[in-house]
Symmetry: C2
Subunit: 351 residues, 2 copies
């Protein structure tokens, strides 16, 4: 059961209150280069990114936002630190969400200016707390704990609430997974704003994928989280793919096919790893959310994978293509992947 | 907090009662080919596999076990289905654990024979329940639920307990993560035997890695699990690497270095992804459990990564190597990775 939260709208994309969990990423181009940034936004959107964030470190980057927003097929979030004028400019440029901590931009008058401009445009704001940026007084009172992070979020929230601003999303990022889980759990008991999940400093592409999946798996399986971003030291398109794979693995949301396959064992008589890799490559952009099984054992394969929409299995020289456990075709092993792709396209034509 | 369980010994490797969570894998060679199987056991052990399972489908495979056990640097588990004579032979061959469901091998007399032989050798037995193999009466009574799986495990457990056999490990594998979590949680309330975690049909190498990490992250973060196996359609050595990465990511157990790095952003002036990949490759077998940071920002990098044992960061042409946030060396960017490897080796020499 997912935690009940309020809902905010990021452009036409809802976050919270049971809306589909959205996948986000962030451009790593120079935002001032609006052409390069737009191209990356486009690539991210094609990979299934629901919302794209861009860094707005200076005036020139803020100026580039209008063009980026105009060309984007998905809502754009402006990432702002400290300077409320950049937030105002981003809002004027038409961004659909801000990422900004109100406690860090100075006087309440400045916050009020940003809040009024956001309200006029129905733009929500994400408060992003991370364990490294908790204030000294909170650290002294609560130590480096999940509670210190939650208290920090509640301080920022209180500033917004005093100004009658409630279109808030909250993220809490600790360096370790256990504290991150604790923090989101505590927040879910103390506030009802939707939450943005992420594991900070997840790391290199492979280890970061494993760490993000393990951490987000821990959070999402507890019903926590309304939107997520996987952070990797890699092409941000990879972040989107991993985000979707995590949601698919937990059966929270699907995009395209899911591939299941048995671990190879002593009974396997075909190059299962090679075939599975080829199938994954050729059908990864297939648009239907079907389950495709790649099984190593011709005797049990079709039966064991009868819940799969489509599947293949091979023995010595001979391959089978099956659909919900029923054998469709027998083909020479070398034509197995082609035959599967053909049947997938038949399925697509039928629907 | 990890759930309290009993402890069993698999050879000299403990499972349960707070012992380090062990990483397992399974050979995919033909067990009858003892030379090929021994070579794979060796490769798995080198990668950090604590316990290796081998399939024992027939008499010839059982006969090969003596040689496999004799050459193995780690305990061996025999995977037995239905035939109690294969279990008896495996025990005679010196295996350190069995995987066998007592309800599936016929009369209680046969089970008693296996149990007595296991007790004589202090060999524990894993009961492996999966959602597809739950008996009809249980399915009729409980439906396809977590409770049906737990009841199935408890039936097998009851057979062993009637024979005063308690050296039991239990696994519960459902096809979906949510039901798997529910099943292990229910079991932890109803029995105190140590548990073996795994996500069944995890799938192709990349998706299977994400699904296993998400599922095991959900379980391990709840304090569930005493030993685990990641199942992938890939070289089983890869299963071991992913298993260790999951334990590292959750800070439950460490082997070798952990790499952290920031996602690239508009401020990054070096090829962070390329450098991170090279570092991960060159230091993945480094024996100390240190944290290595690869940061993209020369201004904030060393400070942000001051909790890392070693780190590098680069700007335009210039690179820094740092240790706990203190700069050790400035080097041309092209020599950054070499310098890091050198400092890692210095650290090794010191310890």
């Amino acid at each position: 059961m997912r935690h009940k939260t309020r809902q905010v709208m990021v452009g036409d994309v809802p976050i919270g209150a049971g809306a589909p969990i959205t996948v986000q990423s962030m451009t790593n181009t120079d935002t001032r280069d609006s052409a390069a940034t737009s191209a990356q936004v486009e690539a991210l959107a094609s990979a299934g990114c629901d919302i794209v964030r861009v860094a707005v470190p200076d005036q020139e980057a803020a100026t580039a936002l209008s063009a980026i927003v105009a060309h984007s097929p998905v809502p754009i979030v402006a990432d702002i630190h400290f300077d409320h004028r950049l937030a105002l400019e981003a809002l004027q440029a038409g961004v659909h969400k801000l990422r900004l901590n109100p406690g860090n931009i100075g006087s309440e008058a400045k916050v009020l200016e940003v809040v009024r401009a956001a309200q006029e445009r129905s733009v929500p704001i994400r408060i992003g707390v991370n364990s490294g940026s908790v204030s000294k007084p909170l650290l002294e009172r609560y130590g480096r704990t999940a509670t210190a992070m939650v208290e920090s979020a509640l301080e920022h929230i209180a500033i917004f609430e005093r100004l009658n601003f409630y279109d808030i999303v909250v993220s809490l990022k600790a360096t370790d997974v256990a504290m991150t889980v604790e923090a989101y759990e505590e927040l879910s008991r103390r506030a009802s704003y939707p939450t943005h999940l992420g594991i900070t400093e997840a790391g290199t592409k492979w280890f970061g994928t494993v760490k993000s999946a393990a951490g987000l798996g821990a959070l999402l399986s507890r019903g926590l989280g309304d939107t997520l971003r996987v952070s990797l030291t890699a092409d941000p398109v990879e972040e989107v793919k991993v985000g979707w794979a995590i949601l698919s693995a937990l059966e929270l949301r699907r995009r395209g096919p899911v591939f299941i396959s048995c671990p190879t064992c002593g009974r396997t008589e075909i190059d299962l790893e090679g075939i599975a890799g080829e199938v994954e490559k050729r059908l990864s952009d297939f648009p239907l959310p079907i389950t495709i099984a790649i099984m190593g054992c011709i005797v049990n394969g079709p039966g064991e994978a009868r819940h799969a929409d489509l599947g293949i299995t091979g023995g010595k020289g001979l391959g089978l293509v099956f659909r919900h456990g029923q054998i469709l075709r027998k083909v020479p092993e070398g034509e197995l992947v082609d035959a599967l792709v053909e049947e997938a396209n038949n399925l697509l034509a039928e629907r």
